[in-house]
């Protein structure tokens, strides 16, 4: 009868106070159980609010806390460090009925998540522009770019990246929450300790994606041109290097 306490305790916190009967009468347990219930719920909700500040700016703290509490029930934390809790939240939010009239919300959450990933990523020195500029054309097929560990990027079929960027200055929120129809990409980099972000086009996105997948510089460049035929490749490449998106060149293959 004295076994299984931990399992019974969790059942009691989840609502079944009778589960604790061998250790505590249900009517004596309820007040204390609700303290634990509130603390667990607040712990998850506070962690998610900290991870998704742009979402919170749009919906307000109370809405986000309610959504976070529902999310924590469906997807509880799996590690005791909550720094990286919330990976499943953007996808979950897309199917959360109260968010149905805010089609931009899941996308904003996805970009908040990428910001967190960039924030927590390993430190590394960005590739020096001189090293990139010194490459001869012959080296393009024998070298590949290594992405900086903090580099994150995403593409959208609409203007979510512009909306997310407009929401980053809490003092000057955009007057309306409207999405442009034109597809956009966003690049997040952290060459030092501060995160920077910029809009990028389909060619730059493909260049990053191909490099990330292990392509040589030449292969990445071909893929970028296929995605965006009018792309000025050397300017785009120099821009990504200057932003700090890469950390090194390596021999390929």
């Amino acid at each position: 009868m004295r076994d299984a306490f931990h399992e019974r305790f969790l059942a009691a916190v989840a609502g079944d106070a009778a589960a604790l009967a061998p250790w505590c009468a249900p009517n004596a347990a309820e007040a204390g159980l609700s303290v634990y219930r509130n603390t667990v719920g607040k712990g998850c909700a506070d962690a998610l609010a900290a991870q998704f500040p742009t979402v919170e700016r749009v919906v307000g703290p109370a809405w986000l806390a309610a959504a976070a509490t529902a999310h924590a029930t469906a997807c509880p934390p799996r590690t005791a460090s909550l720094l990286a809790y919330g990976e499943a939240f953007p996808t979950w939010l897309a199917d959360f009925p109260p968010a149905a009239d805010m089609p931009y919300l899941a996308g904003l959450a996805q970009l908040d998540w990428l910001w967190t990933c960039a924030h927590l990523a390993a430190d590394a020195r960005p590739l020096a522009p001189e090293a990139a500029a010194a490459l001869s054309p012959a080296a393009f097929s024998t070298h590949a770019l290594v992405l900086h560990p903090a580099t994150r990027f995403a593409d959208f079929e609409d203007g979510t990246p512009s909306l997310w960027r407009a929401l980053q200055s809490p003092d000057a929120p955009p007057k309306t929450l409207e999405l442009n129809d034109a597809p956009e990409g966003l690049l997040l980099v952290r060459p030092g300790l501060d995160i920077r972000h910029q809009l990028i086009g389909p060619g730059e996105l493909m260049f990053l994606a191909a490099s990330s997948a292990g392509a040589s510089l030449l292969e990445a460049a071909m893929a970028a041109l296929a995605a965006e035929p009018g792309l000025d490749l050397s300017t785009a490449f120099a821009g990504l290097v200057a932003a700090g998106a890469f950390t090194a060149l390596r021999k390929h293959p």
Binding site: L20, T39, P76, A80, L82
Partner: protein, 276 residues
């Protein structure tokens, strides 16, 4: 205790610059390692800078030593990396659990203090000290439930845990006050019974009354209550000075406000004879 290590405050990201600039004598900082389990980035860089200047304490909340299973090895390994990086003056955890079968409940949960629990928790503390390669301190929890089925009182349990594992004790005076109120025992008698030699650190924090029941909640969201200051003075008078933390995790005030509370503890510690 030397003057270089008296009273400290919880380290909060919004206070990093103030913490780094502060020149108060004897000041130290305590951080939750769970908030620094990152591969890199600004948090680690700030803590690097602060740990260069000041003693740092790593106060874990997630190792779940009182679970009915061994501590998570991945979490222990991440803690070990932080201990190796920051060489903390103190490392501590709680007499509580929060992780079970791969699901984490962000709280410090209670358990019946049975002899079986004692031997399992002693194994878990042994494992923690073995991996970290150092002695740790274990903190008394805040309690909200009148559980039955205990074989040992909390003081007895902590004293025996310390005897078996060699761990020290972190005495949270606010937790003693809150638990004594919630479960109906004497906070003074509890503090007077603690084994002085085992105590390696003291915590002071604020609490709040529950909105619905006659319970006090250990919120870490308010200044330290006068009744807790009195218990603290009584404890320090009996056991001598110990590194003391003003702990704050919620409703974070300006750094100066925390430091004003910290100065009060600092002053009290300096008045006590140094315990050789």
């Amino acid at each position: 205790m030397t003057q270089s290590f008296t009273a400290g405050v919880s380290l909060k990201p919004q206070h990093y610059a103030d913490a780094l600039a502060c020149r108060a004598e004897g000041l130290w900082f305590e951080a939750h390692p769970e908030n620094y389990m990152a591969a890199g980035g600004p948090r680690l860089a700030w803590l690097d800078a602060i740990a260069r200047d000041r003693p740092v304490s790593l106060h874990g909340v997630g190792l779940s030593l009182a679970a009915d299973e061994a501590p998570d090895e991945g979490h222990l390994a991440a803690l070990k990396r932080l201990v190796d990086r920051y060489r903390p003056a103190l490392v501590s955890e709680h007499l509580a659990w929060s992780m079970r079968r791969g699901v984490y409940a962000p709280d410090l949960l209670p358990f019946p203090r049975t002899l079986r629990a004692l031997s399992r928790i002693a194994d878990n503390v042994d494992r923690m000290q073995e991996v970290l390669g150092r002695r740790v301190l274990i903190e008394n929890p805040s309690l909200y439930l009148p559980l039955g089925g205990h074989d040992l009182g909390e003081v007895e349990f902590l004293a025996e845990l310390s005897r078996r594992t060699g761990c020290g004790l972190l005495v949270d005076v606010n937790n003693v006050f809150v638990s004594a109120h919630n479960l109906g025992y004497s906070a003074e008698a509890y503090l007077d019974a603690l084994p002085a030699a085992a105590i390696g650190e003291i915590h002071l924090a604020g609490h709040a009354p529950d909105a619905r029941a006659d319970l006090l909640i250990d919120t870490h969201g308010a200044p330290v209550a006068e009744a807790v200051w009195s218990l603290y003075a009584r404890l320090v008078e009996r056991i001598g000075p110990r590194p003391t933390l003003i702990e704050r995790d919620d409703d974070i005030p300006a750094f100066d406000m925390l430091m004003a509370e910290r100065e009060r503890a600092h002053g009290l510690l300096l008045r006590e004879p140094v315990d050789a």
